[in-house]
């Protein structure tokens, strides 16, 4: 069951009710059981893997904490990271590396037949692996205490709201909350429910709806012209924002209902005026993780190279980000493109700041608008690599966008629903960005306005949300 399934709508209230009935000292264990139940429901065998990774993390962090010797601490850290990252490496990247080596040998004329192994990726492995590594490093740096309770450790790595798609949480944020679990307050339940409602709206009405159009175009690249491809490329970032953003908002809402505060993942990314700012608003938990555990140590060790040190650190960090998303050359290119964007911005940072300060550009609406649009253009270009299955397709898309134009492929139902819902989403983000606290709906003081707002969104979800993806026209087209 995923969030968007009916079963989850039965599972979730049950968990909340039981959570509130169980005494304080049993709450962590209850959530642990619920999380494993949730996971086993999806992929029974891999629950074992999750348990093993949890066990290893526990033992290594214990070792790091208890050892007095600095050298031993360091060794345990390195080995801990290796052990924890091994499953991720194996499941996600083995096939890719295997095939890449195979193709390389093929090119050189050696035709070997390597065994073709393909595994289904364990759900959540990219997330819980990173969380475990973060925890190991935090204990080593003494930023976080070793957590003695294996139940809490297990819960940290399996917590059902966040295991599927994040946000990527930190030990420092989760463990203290686990120690003080209380019954849900009225505020928790209402806030959580509101977050979930908006998250479902984003996911079902915006993301899945736009996704129908974008997929129809991108799975048939040879049949579509540049105009259609350009339009789909413009829609795609909105789709991803609504998808991942919506999904993680549901996760945050679910956790909130249980009184647990999870870090946010998105902060109105399309109002960023520079790529650096964009990456502080988009998939924040991942970027924060990469910054703290990869970029900072890396750029610190390369700081003698000055700007080149920063550039190298950026390129490598974003390449890792690309690889984290998937084992394909397109993701690596995607990562490199981000690195290039940020490096150019870093190098031109001084000049840009001078000019914007001299002409007070940061207060001018037209400057803000153009900056946002420019950032969007840069990002949607890079997303062509994120969306296409291989590099050839990506270049075909780019070629057509710059060359072959024509009539726009129309799917009236899908576009009218999707764009309408997107409009609502963007208006809300716009209000939050530039007029926070004004024109409130979910937060209005008047109960009638609030209830009608919730009702309207719920009705939209039922009326135009993609509840069963049964609204395809003939897909070959």
């Amino acid at each position: 069951m995923t969030f968007a399934s009916f079963n989850f709508l039965l599972f979730f209230p049950l968990v909340v009710i039981l959570f509130n009935l169980i005494p304080q000292r049993g709450k962590v264990w209850f959530l642990l059981v619920a999380s494993y139940f949730f996971y086993i429901n999806l992929q029974p065998v891999y629950a074992l893997l999750l348990a093993l990774v949890t066990g290893s993390t526990y033992l290594f962090t214990k070792g790091i904490y208890e050892t007095k010797s600095d050298i031993k601490k360091h060794k345990l850290l390195i080995w801990g990271i290796i052990v924890v990252i091994l499953p991720l490496f194996f499941f996600k990247y083995f096939g890719f590396i295997n095939n890449s080596i195979f193709e390389l040998l093929n090119h050189l004329g050696l035709h070997l037949s390597l065994p073709k192994i393909s595994f289904i990726l364990p759900i959540g492995i990219s997330f819980y692996t990173f969380m475990a590594i973060g925890y190991l490093v935090d204990v080593y740096n003494e930023d976080v205490d070793f957590e003695k309770s294996i139940g809490s450790t297990g819960l940290f790595l399996s917590f059902f709201p966040i295991i599927l798609s994040g946000p990527i949480e930190r030990a420092g944020n989760m463990f203290p909350q686990f120690k003080k679990l209380q019954n849900s307050t009225y505020d928790d339940l209402v806030s959580g429910a509101k977050l979930m409602l908006w998250g479902y709206f984003m996911k079902l009405c915006v993301a899945d709806r736009l996704g129908i159009y974008v997929d129809a175009v991108y799975t048939n690249i040879p049949f579509h012209n540049g105009t259609t491809l350009a339009f789909a490329t413009v829609l795609y970032p909105f789709q991803v924002y609504a998808d991942l953003g919506g999904y993680t908002l549901i996760a945050i809402g679910v956790a909130r209902c249980l009184g647990i505060k999870v870090i946010p993942n998105f902060k109105r990314p399309f109002f960023a005026t520079s790529m650096s700012e964009f990456w502080r608003r988009w998939h924040m938990s991942l970027i924060q993780w990469l910054t703290d555990y990869i970029y900072t140590p890396l750029s610190f060790n390369l700081r003698s190279w000055k700007m080149w040190g920063i550039v190298s650190a950026l390129m490598l960090t974003f390449m890792i980000s690309g690889i984290w998303h998937g084992a394909a050359l397109t993701f690596i290119i995607w990562g490199l493109v981000q690195g290039v964007y940020l490096s150019i911005e870093a190098a031109m940072h001084k000049q840009r700041t001078e000019i914007t300060q001299k002409f007070r550009l940061n207060n001018k609406p037209w400057y803000i608008f153009i900056s946002c649009v420019w950032v969007f253009v840069l990002f949607s270009f890079s997303q062509i690599f994120g969306k296409c299955n291989n590099v050839r397709d990506a270049f075909e898309v780019i070629g057509k966008i710059t060359g072959k134009h024509g009539g726009l492929y129309m799917d009236k139902t899908t576009l009218s629903f999707g764009l309408f819902a997107l409009f609502i989403l963007l208006i809300k983000d716009f209000r939050d960005e530039f007029f926070p606290g004004k024109m409130l709906f979910f937060e209005n003081r008047n109960i009638v306005v609030r209830y009608l707002s919730y009702a309207l969104i719920l009705i939209l979800i039922l009326a135009i949300g993609v509840l069963d993806s049964g609204q395809f026209i003939y897909f070959q087209f």
Partner: protein, 80 residues
Amino acid sequence: MQKQEIIEKLTPIFREVFSDSTLELRDEMTASDVANWDSLTHMLMITEVEKQFGIKFKLKDLNKMKHVGNLIEVINSKFE
């Protein structure tokens, strides 16, 4: 080294790296208080501080520097 000395030396560095000629340092000041202080410029600032004070930070030190006050303490500790 005296705290005041450190602040006097730090201020021009901060003003230069973060492009803010009016910046006044406070103990509780963090990156979120300064417009141009982000993870990119942070490292430039660190390098500049090392150069100006003739010290070398360790990665562990970085983690301890949550705000300017910590930074000053860590710089101070290098002279003990």
